[in-house]
Amino acid sequence: MPASQYQPPKTAHAKYILRLADNALVLGQRLSEMCGHAPEMELDIALTNLALDLIGQARLLYTHVLTLEPLAPNPDILAMTRPLGHYTNCLLVARPNTDFAHIVLRQYLFSSMQKYQYEALLDSQDKALSAIVEKSLKEIAYHIRFAKTWVLRLGDGTEESHERMADALDYMWRFSGEMWEKDAVLEETVKQGLSADFTLQKDKWLKENKELLQEAGGLAIPDVGRMIMGGYQGEHDEHLGHILKDLQYMQLKYPNMEW
């Protein structure tokens, strides 16, 4: 087994960018799993387009973070060979593709947060980062539009579609809190002028969600007891493991492979 060519980030700056990149990569990978398996042909193209947007964002972010710290020899090795505990995506993006309701709700919860997260970077001290973010925001606007459209149609659709959306909400909501936590990494990033504090928008985001869910057949935010956290700190459940077994296979079996 070759020695890992990865070393973990030391600065909050690099940690934060890695978090954004890992979110995009893992969600992109989940969406890619739907290639050839979506309910309709149009939706197959839609989901894979979303996946490509996210993987593109991930690639730009991985490339950029390597200019700050030498975490790995190249973006491929950084993206595809780390041990499980060194991925710093939130738990939400690793949720499985249980059904189309789960897929679109996961997308809506993530992308609507990502919009605030990225807007907070537009005035960053890191100019290269704000350029990446500015370009990505147009893609994110489309992701929100797509996801919202389907959350509404499924929630306010048939009895079955409403039930599936309600189940998805019941499952997914407990993973939404993590995205809005102001942890030490984000706090340091804000202090250094790299990001504004996007978590201040949380109430606005909650209000948008409540309104959307109400319109989606009268759904309400469930009482989940407690939010499940830990992804940003590298504490993952088995779902990321399943994702990584596909994501990492080629790079681990054929190190430094190129197409």
Partner: protein, 94 residues
């Protein structure tokens, strides 16, 4: 494909173009999802500046069997054709 997913025709105006051209079709439930699907399917290669979607059932096409009576008479009337006018230099898009 149930009656919940009717067919729509997609027309696209490219960034360099002046008119919407027929690009293909999509199945969709309503106008919003038709636009989203048309965007996803037909604008990947960066050509589009505008999209129209129309329910296929709202397009009435001329019957090919009637092409003779509809179109042939115009071919003989060359005095109507716009081929005798000399376009002055500097006039674009004629």
């Amino acid at each position: 494909m149930s009656e919940n997913w009717p067919l729509w025709e997609v027309f696209m105006r490219s960034k360099n173009g002046l008119a919407h051209k027929h690009a293909g079709s999509v199945h969709a439930q309503d106008a919003e999802t038709a636009i989203l699907s048309a965007r996803d399917l037909y604008t990947r290669r960066g050509e589009a500046a505008s999209l129209w979607v129309v329910r296929s059932e709202h397009i009435i096409a001329s019957d090919p069997a009637s092409s003779g009576e509809l179109f042939d008479p115009a071919d003989d009337k060359i005095y109507r054709h716009p081929t005798f006018y000399k376009v002055p230099d500097g006039v674009k898009n004629m």
